[in-house]
Symmetry: C2
Subunit: 327 residues, 2 copies
């Protein structure tokens, strides 16, 4: 699949997208591009990480609510309500923002970044889009008595528990998953788009997994469905897609152009990767693919139109081009 960026009457830039749709057993329903090459899921794996935290018993022990679980599974905007949810998790587990090892970056949501700057306040680790996940891993450490200073290391027992759940979802041994380091410092694993789609199909159906994993994934899914704003935030595609479908699609973006959808109604999972890593191509591609498997109702597709073919604006705010799937 090709996503074009036009300017004036010409295609200025093009993005290639590979994607796979499977059921929970890995049967391929739809595929485009190379679906067997390993792809780092990046933050698209956060719902699975959140499920490992639930499966550890930490979520029950600290009575995490939907917002807290959703922000653990989030790549959030750093809006005040996101920061408050992460602070709430840290307070419940007796940890401090300084325990977060994700590093600081300005809120992804521009008005939140501007508000911080206007107060002469430096962005902190709380504003990092991954701070919820890091707080959740700290909760696991607190609950299971793991060291909380070293949780970024691949050999840390919390990271092992997370990787093992991810491996079970992919249907592969954990040792078969290549590891890298994510933008926020934690290990990231790679698997094929085929296995990634199967993981999302298992997240969608709770089939082909243990009862314990199923219960944990179901809890995370319900939290994301109930609180989609906490998974991303204002203006973000993931939030818009879950809101427009009233949670019938549960989705998660990852860096470098990854996007995953759990489709409980269709009993399928969909994962795509923009080959060059451009985030701008993922929403148009996702909506076209969801449309092609009839996972979107007409009214929903209409409501998401601005994500299907977003305008390219110049600095003065004039629309000078468009991003859209090639005809």
């Amino acid at each position: 699949m090709i996503v074009n960026v036009t300017r004036g009457g010409l295609v200025e830039s093009t993005h290639e997208v590979a994607a796979c749709v499977t059921d929970a057993r890995g049967r391929v329903v739809h595929a485009t591009g190379d679906v067997d090459r390993p792809v780092y899921l990046r933050s698209a794996a956060k719902p699975f990480i959140a499920a490992a935290i639930v499966a550890s018993g930490a979520a029950a022990r600290f009575a995490f609510d939907d917002r807290e679980l959703a922000v653990i599974a989030a790549s959030h905007n750093g809006e005040p309500y996101h920061v408050a949810a992460v602070r709430g998790i840290l307070a419940k587990i007796g940890a401090d923002p300084s325990d977060l090892r994700c590093g600081a970056h300005a809120p992804a949501y521009e008005p939140a970044a501007a508000a911080l700057a206007a107060r002469n306040e430096a962005p902190s680790a709380l504003h990092n889009n991954c701070s919820g996940k890091h707080a959740g891993i700290l909760a696991m450490c607190a609950h299971l008595g793991f060291d909380r200073a070293t949780y970024l290391a691949p050999e840390h027992p919390a990271e092992r528990l997370i990787l093992e759940l991810c491996a079970r979802l992919a249907g592969l041994p954990a040792a078969a998953l290549p590891l890298g380091v994510d933008g926020c410092g934690i290990p990231v694993y790679a698997t094929s788009l085929r296995r990634a789609a199967q993981s999302f199909a298992r997240f969608a159906t709770l089939d082909e997994i243990s009862d314990g994993d199923a219960r944990a994934l179901e809890r995370v899914r319900a939290a994301m469905q109930a609180e989609p704003r906490y998974v991303a935030g204002t203006g973000r595609f993931d939030t818009a897609l879950m809101e427009a479908t009233r949670g019938r699609i549960v989705c998660k973006a990852g860096a470098e152009g990854v996007h995953g959808d759990a489709l409980p109604r269709e009993r399928l999972g969909l994962v795509l990767k923009v080959a060059d890593g451009a985030r701008r191509a993922a929403p148009p591609a996702a909506l076209a693919l969801l449309g092609s498997i009839a996972a979107l109702e007409p009214g929903e597709a209409l409501a998401l139109g601005e994500h299907a073919s977003p305008a390219v604006f110049n600095v003065a705010g004039l629309a000078v081009g468009r991003v859209a799937v090639a005809p």
Copy 2:
């Protein structure tokens, strides 16, 4: 040509690059990818825009110095010395920052943006990376008595003079050049990479053009060679390449992954376009291409190593991957 972005042991994302090297008559010396498809030059055309401003007589009338001419040809970082140079142009021509129609954005150079924010000062049009070019067009308006409120319009006489010089460099009639709107509001033209490379070869050699165009291009080239910091700024590839080669290569980046080089010693021009528009792939591709035509001395290539295969850093500042031309 392929530029890979690796993370851990895997290729995470890939960029395709098309490029062309020609002489001033358009003879192709090297080509990779589709070099006949139209490409918007974007800011890579700024040296030609600056030359049109010189050719109009405005640069002589207002006694622009090298720094002022270099910043007119720049996509600058918005560092204090860039802003001062643009202010100087405006003062000389009796114009005001409010006459700039480029829109405001925060300085591209992060410490300059942070310094502004710390002073609770909003970014202005002066900080826009294109403000020098806009000030230069205003100088043309002041010198030739053109309306200065409407200079963004393609039919404005200043834009016509600019487009006609660009068309002469490409060896095509102006009417043959498709137009779009740039990020800063001015018209942008498209031409093939072959014609774009020819334009840079003419900029390099001053061959195949009129004496008037040659004198104007020579003046701009000398200014860029003398003041490469004013063309881009701290940490930027264009500045580094011109500094490392002591001006023997005169280069200019454009948005959406465009990069152009004038090579006076080799009597050639080189232009590349990253197909997906990713800026990160342009410097590694440019250095590989310049190396392949022996346009870089070994010591220069060494000095530019961090641009040839830049590390990918995570938020905490750890190198977790690399951008480099595929082996």
